[in-house]
């Protein structure tokens, strides 16, 4: 009886561990857009220059119509940006904390929109990679006993 308990426990621990791993290990790619966005009739113009920092490191210098990128593990993501509206103007710092949807691999964040504090669905959209266009791989595996092989 006691043993069964222990065994179940052990299995549970493994499962829980697995669960945790799936959450903390979930990788996302975040794309920062500095692009003009139309949202219920209003237009949020792209900005002359935006510098994006993820935990202290600069990951992108974005002029108008540019896209930067960062990766993160887990569902919470925070980043800072410096906004420079006109040539050598004062940079305005912003800080954002986002919680990322588990299901999305690639997430596009529209910076002008998020700066205006619009609702999430406005500035967040999923990044759909272009369908791969490479040709069918012809090499069929087999029981062939090829030698060499790196170890």
């Amino acid at each position: 009886m006691r043993k069964i308990l222990f065994r179940v426990g052990a299995v549970l621990i493994l499962l829980i561990l697995a669960g945790i791993m799936m959450i903390v290990g979930r990788g996302h790619t975040i794309y920062f857009d500095n692009k003009t966005l139309e949202y219920n009739g209003e237009s949020y113009a792209a900005i002359r220059r935006i510098n994006v920092f993820v935990n202290g490191e600069q990951v992108a210098k974005l002029s108008k119509k540019e896209r930067g990128m960062a990766t993160c593990m887990g569902q919470s993501f925070s980043f800072d940006i410096e906004v420079i509206r006109e040539k050598d103007g004062e940079p305005e710092p912003y800080h954002f904390d986002l919680s990322l949807p588990y299901g999305m691999d690639g997430i596009i964040v529209n910076l002008p929109a998020i700066m205006e504090g619009l609702p999430q669905e406005a500035w967040m959209s999923e990044f759909i990679p272009a369908p791969p266009t490479e040709t069918e791989e012809d090499e069929l595996p087999s029981d062939e006993f090829e030698m060499g092989g790196e170890v």
Partner: protein, 357 residues
């Protein structure tokens, strides 16, 4: 007492025993192949061209399978060391080409040249197997691998010059694959070839196999052949009857090796190419499983086993891709081949061998 049971067997019992002797997996495979042939026409695959394929594949591989027989008979187990013979054959092939023979002569010369190598290698290999009775199969496997990988180096180093075989630029080192239509490609298959519509029968190759098979059959009916079977059936008995067990085993290994050498040559003439380097790796297991499918056990094998086995195995290998494609355009033949061949070997290995050796 047992003979009582024996004598008043009902037909049913006999049938049942027959089935048991035949073996379940073999039955399944045979049934599967049959199914293939039945289904084939409906999948738009031409029946006769399929039959032709089977014939061809049979004619290429049968001799390699035949190479299993002597060692099985002498109780050396399944010849996982087939590559030793194959290498001898490849040496024969390459040398006869290098020496400038062409056409049928080159095939003949290939056999002639490979013979001394086969005897040499076979003797060494047999001598080894005699020192490790009981552990033959595993060691044979790795002896085979070692020989192959050693010759991988040799193919590079040996001073072959013939441009048909050697790499153009450096001059030394043979190509991994090269065509031999200038030499002995199809010398057997095209000899007396019969063509009826889509059905093509490589008579020459079949005859050649028949010849070797007959010689093997005849050998097994001679004094020495009898001794060989006895050694395989019960080595102690043979020893008590004054047989030099080691010599007989040695002989059987040499024979197997030589047949392996000839076998690869026959394969090449059908296939039309010589494959060097790692190619021999993939020749062994199909041959082993073929003879097992044919109904041989680890220490009993007959010519019939060879023929049935080769037909069944090659049948599966050739039919499945086309038929499968025709049906669900999904080609799992590769996988199927791997599973069937190795599964068959596993089955043989896990079965209790009733003979006490």
């Amino acid at each position: 007492m047992s003979e009582q049971i024996r004598t008043d067997d009902s037909i049913l019992v006999r049938v049942h025993r027959a089935l048991k002797d035949f073996g379940v997996p073999r039955l399944i495979i045979a049934a599967f192949l049959l199914l293939m042939f039945i289904v084939a026409p409906f999948t738009g695959v031409n029946f006769w061209s399929q039959v032709t394929n089977v014939f061809n594949r049979f004619s290429w591989n049968a001799v390699l399978v035949l190479a299993m027989v002597p060692m099985v008979h002498s109780g050396c187990g399944l010849n996982f060391g087939l590559p030793v013979g194959i290498i001898a054959g490849l040496l024969g092939a390459t040398l006869s080409i290098e020496l400038g023979f062409t056409g049928p002569v080159s095939f003949l010369m290939a056999i002639v040249i490979s013979t001394p190598f086969a005897i040499l290698f076979g003797a060494a290999y047999g001598g080894l197997l005699n020192r490790i009775k009981g552990g033959e199969m595993m060691i044979a496997t790795y002896v085979g691998f070692s020989v192959i990988s050693f010759f991988c180096m040799m193919w590079l180093v040996l001073p072959y010059k013939k441009p048909d075989m050697a790499w153009g630029f450096e001059g030394t080192g043979l190509r991994t694959t090269f065509p031999i239509d200038k030499y002995y490609g199809g010398v057997l298959s095209n000899f007396l070839k019969i063509e009826i519509g889509k059905l093509v029968i490589p008579t020459g190759a079949l005859l050649f196999f028949a010849l070797l098979a007959f010689l093997m059959w005849a050998f097994l009916h001679t004094k020495t052949g009898t001794a060989m079977t006895a050694v395989g059936s019960n080595a102690t008995f043979a020893r008590a009857a004054g047989i030099n067990v080691n010599r007989i085993r040695m002989l059987s290994v040499v024979m197997s090796t030589w047949l392996g050498a000839v076998g690869i040559l026959v394969y090449e003439q059908g296939f039309g190419f010589v494959q060097l380097y790692n190619a021999p790796f993939n020749m062994t297991l199909p041959a082993v499983s073929a003879i097992l499918i044919g109904g041989a056990t680890a220490n009993k094998a007959s010519i019939t086993n060879v023929i049935i086995g080769t037909i069944l195995f090659q049948g599966i290998v050739t039919m499945t891709p086309t038929v499968m494609n025709g049906l669900i355009n999904l080609d799992i033949s590769e996988v199927l081949r791997v599973v069937v061949s190795n599964g068959m070997i596993l089955y043989a290995l896990t079965r209790k061998t009733e003979v006490s050796r």
